[in-house]
């Protein structure tokens, strides 16, 4: 197999050298000879989740982004710090009091089947994303009433109402641009304009990417080939890294020490993903803010982070991480200090009987079970009796069918705080088990969505975060670090605040 790969790579490289004049100088650091990137390198990565489909518009989860984004550019991109940066649109602004989003498109881009990328292609993509059978993004794009082609590289989205989240939505799968010529076969044979093309694909398990030599950013694809596989178990990913089957992966906290002692680099940073004990606030007792505050005080977040994550996480009480623009400094991380006494007082005030049962819905996997058990034990300290019920499908059981009173689960994060707040803490929010909220939170959320000025928006996002925490709509636990582990040959890989790794600028030394 190795031999074949070399032959294939050599052939591709020879072809590239023959046809392209910009091929050469792609060295990232410009450092000494040892750090020289190998333009022919193969970068092998093991992801944590299986890929569902390579069609970005029917792909149901953001977990697929890792696999999709090397192939598909979006209209707007996210930087590693989760800020908006130009993608296929070089400029975007709200006009007509925010009821129009006008985009200027990047010129000279073609899809990998040589179909040109232009305003017509954008219109075709948005309309497809809204209407294709099985679209998983039509909800996010529902606000776009029509797409108007102004000229080849100018396009306007006419909106039903002001929606300041839209530019963030367009950084996701909803804003992914595919070749209109290939719309019918994207699931298996994707055609985008991204920095790589897919050379082979096995549904659910693995894909091989090859560099798109015509990509508009020559610094983006540093490795000639990328091979992705899915390995759902962290220990197996660690073993694969150790045996040299892969070059980089993401590890659970428990395996970080072992990777470091085997001389791998592990970059650990908080991302937008957090764990929380979600409460169904329509349930008896949980509809009382004092009880929800009591539960917040009953949780010893520090010991959860040190015991379950070996310190590789940040305890938190609000749904956004420190240093992120929606993080409220005043509320901080210690608004609900661990205080079982205070928790008992609050429970007594709310007349909760000693030994009151709370049904905890638990996603059936060891890491969630571990967390549920730890929470059960901490709640027992303040006189609450948590009973754990297993489910194989948490979202269905807890959000749709409304089973249980609470559930410890992770929230994977969204590019825009308004999305996270909307889904978790508003009446329409899919991931709000009670489909109820407080009027203050509802109002602030509406205002945030309707505000397009960046500075005002940031302030509102902070206020919203503070209000959610103040109303104790949730029991946020911690932000686990994303632990990106890689061999010493890998360059330019780091955690992305979005939590979804993109591989721009990732390469391998000789």
């Amino acid at each position: 197999m190795k031999l074949w790969r070399y032959v294939a790579v050599a052939t591709v490289t020879a072809l590239v050298a023959a046809c392209s004049s910009t091929g050469g100088s792609t060295s990232g650091g410009g450092g000494g000879g040892e750090n020289e990137l190998d333009p022919n390198a193969t970068f092998r990565f093991a992801d944590t989740l299986p890929i569902d489909t390579l069609d970005p518009h029917t792909s149901p989860g953001a977990g697929n982004n890792v696999w999709l984004f090397p192939v598909y550019d979006r209209l707007i991109h996210l930087s590693p710090d989760a800020e908006l940066v130009p993608g296929l649109a070089t400029n975007w602004e709200f006009t007509d009091d925010g009821t129009t989003l006008a985009l200027t498109l990047r010129e000279g881009v073609t899809f990998s089947d040589d179909t040109p990328f232009d305003a017509e292609a954008v219109k075709a993509n948005i309309e497809r994303a809204q209407t294709v059978e099985g679209s998983a993004v039509k909800g996010e794009l529902a606000v776009i009433e029509s797409v108007e082609v102004v000229d080849d590289y100018q396009v306007e989205f006419n909106l039903a109402n002001v929606n300041s989240s839209l530019p963030y939505v367009l950084t996701g799968r909803a804003g992914a641009m595919a070749s209109p010529e290939a719309f019918d076969s994207l699931a298996q044979e994707p055609v985008g304009s991204g920095m790589y093309t897919v050379a082979s694909y096995q549904p659910g398990t693995s894909a091989t990417y090859e560099r798109n030599e015509d990509y508009w950013d020559p610094e983006a694809a540093q490795a000639a080939t990328m091979e992705f596989t899915t390995v759902t178990d962290s220990l197996q990913r660690l073993n694969a890294l150790k045996t040299g089957s892969i070059d980089a992966t993401i590890l659970s906290a428990k395996d970080v020490e072992a990777a470091k002692s085997a001389d791998f680099t592990v970059a650990s940073e908080p991302v937008l993903e957090f764990y929380h004990l979600q409460l169904n606030i329509s349930r008896p007792y949980l509809d009382d803010v004092r009880v929800r505050k009591a539960i917040n005080h009953a949780i010893d977040r520090e010991s959860l982070v040190s015991g379950l994550l070996f310190g590789l996480g940040a305890p938190a009480v609000q749904p956004f991480p420190q240093d992120y623009f929606a993080y409220d400094e005043e509320i901080g991380t210690d608004h609900y200090a661990y205080d079982p006494e205070r928790a008992r007082e609050l429970l007594a005030e709310a007349e909760v009987p000693e030994g009151q049962t709370i049904e905890l819905i638990n996603q059936n996997a060891p890491s969630y079970t571990q967390l549920s058990e730890a929470i059960k034990s901490q709640l027992a300290e303040v006189g609450l009796n948590a009973e754990i019920t297993q489910t194989t499908n948490f979202a269905n059981s807890f959000y749709v069918e409304g089973n249980g009173d609470a559930g410890a689960i992770n929230w994977t994060g969204r590019p825009d705080p308004a999305q996270t707040a909307g889904l978790l803490y508003t009446e329409e929010g899919f991931a709000n088990p009670a489909k109820e909220t407080t009027s203050e939170v509802a109002d602030l959320h509406q205002e945030l969505v309707a505000t397009i000025d960046d500075d005002e928006r940031e302030q509102l996002a902070r206020d919203l975060s503070a209000q959610i925490t103040e109303d104790a709509l949730d029991v946020v636990l911690y932000f686990p670090f994303q632990n990106v582990a890689y061999s010493d040959k890998v360059q330019g890989l780091e955690p992305w605040l979005s939590g979804k790794l993109e591989f721009r600028g990732v390469g391998m030394t000789q």
Binding site: W4, D52, G134, A136, T243, V400
Partner: protein, 314 residues
């Protein structure tokens, strides 16, 4: 022979109908709603409802089964609810992997089990017998994934002799294929090898004690001639039956071994599609594994008929 094959193939048809109908009825009870996932993580409740309708989840199961059957009879096994990949493609991609794994495990069972069983039978109650019986009993008692993980730790992680994950098709690179398949085959085949050894020992002891062999020995035939010509041949019948039973068992146990070794076979697909209620994929897997089991049993019966023309199938 042709009549036997024809009869079995005909008998397989009601079996397939029965099994697929059972799956269809059973999946109703699997908790969860795939529409919640398929509709996307930012979906509204209405979108989920639309998705259920589009995928036909609201129809009662006999209706869905009839629709599926109609398509299946025309050779179309449908599409995965999640990936929209044709089920036949998913099966074509993964079934060879699982078959390669189970057949290698079976081969391991034969290569280890038959010599071990023979040695044990030739030395009843002496030390080689005791060693074989001890190891065989242990082999059956070890949880497969535990053995798999221990093998993985020792041979792949600490000794670095084998890769820890993945799979290379045989036709792509036979050597790499062997490196990938060896440890999982051993982990999967160990209980089968133990079973083969035990059964072989038992039936060889029975055969060796039969009168005609005693006569043969008495007539002065050399012991290994007796062994090779008569005992092994007579004991082969039960072993073929054991191997056929083992094939079905290995297909089931492959689920866990594939998970432990990250092999992209049918087992991993089976578990995820059952848990996620991806009914068309489950049906496809059931159809294929039923066919494999029917064919295996048929092969076993034919072999048995060939080994002993007088033997009757039970």
């Amino acid at each position: 022979m042709a009549a036997l094959i024809g009869r079995r193939m005909l008998a397989a048809i009601p079996l397939l109908l029965f099994v697929t109908a059972l799956v269809s009825a059973f999946t109703v009870f699997i908790p969860g709603d795939p529409a919640v996932y398929v509709a996307g993580e930012n979906a509204t409740v209405e979108q989920i409802e639309q998705t259920r309708e589009r995928l036909g989840f609201d129809d009662p199961w006999p209706v869905r089964y009839a629709e599926w059957l109609g398509q299946a009879l025309q050779g179309n096994l449908g599409e995965s609810v999640f990936s929209a990949s044709p089920v036949s493609e998913l099966l074509a991609e993964r079934m060879p992997v699982t078959l390669a794994l189970t057949l290698s495990a079976l081969l391991f069972a034969v290569l280890v089990g038959i010599p071990a069983g023979t040695i044990a039978a030739l030395n009843p109650d002496r030390w080689p017998d005791k060693v074989v019986r001890g190891i065989a009993t242990l082999g059956i008692a070890l949880p497969g994934y535990w053995l798999g993980l221990l093998l993985l730790l020792v041979f792949a992680v600490y000794l670095g002799l084998f890769p820890t994950l993945g799979y290379t098709p045989l036709h792509q690179d036979p050597l790499d294929w062997l490196r990938h398949i060896l440890l999982p085959s051993v982990a999967l085949g160990a209980p089968a090898a133990a079973e083969v050894a035990r059964q072989l020992r038992r039936s060889m002891l029975d055969t060796l004690n039969q009168d005609f062999l005693r006569t043969a020995t008495a007539k002065g035939l050399r012991r290994h001639t007796v062994l090779g010509k008569h005992a092994l041949k007579h004991a082969a019948g039960p072993i073929v039956t054991v191997l056929a039973t083992q094939m079905a068992l290995l297909l089931g146990a492959a689920v866990i071994i594939e998970k432990a070794f990250t092999i992209p076979g049918i087992g991993e697909l089976a578990v995820s599609s059952v848990i996620n209620k991806d009914v068309p994929v489950v049906q496809g897997i059931v159809v294929v594994s039923t066919v494999v089991i029917v064919v295996t049993n048929l092969a076993a019966d034919i072999t048995n008929a060939w080994l002993s023309p007088k033997s009757q199938s039970q």
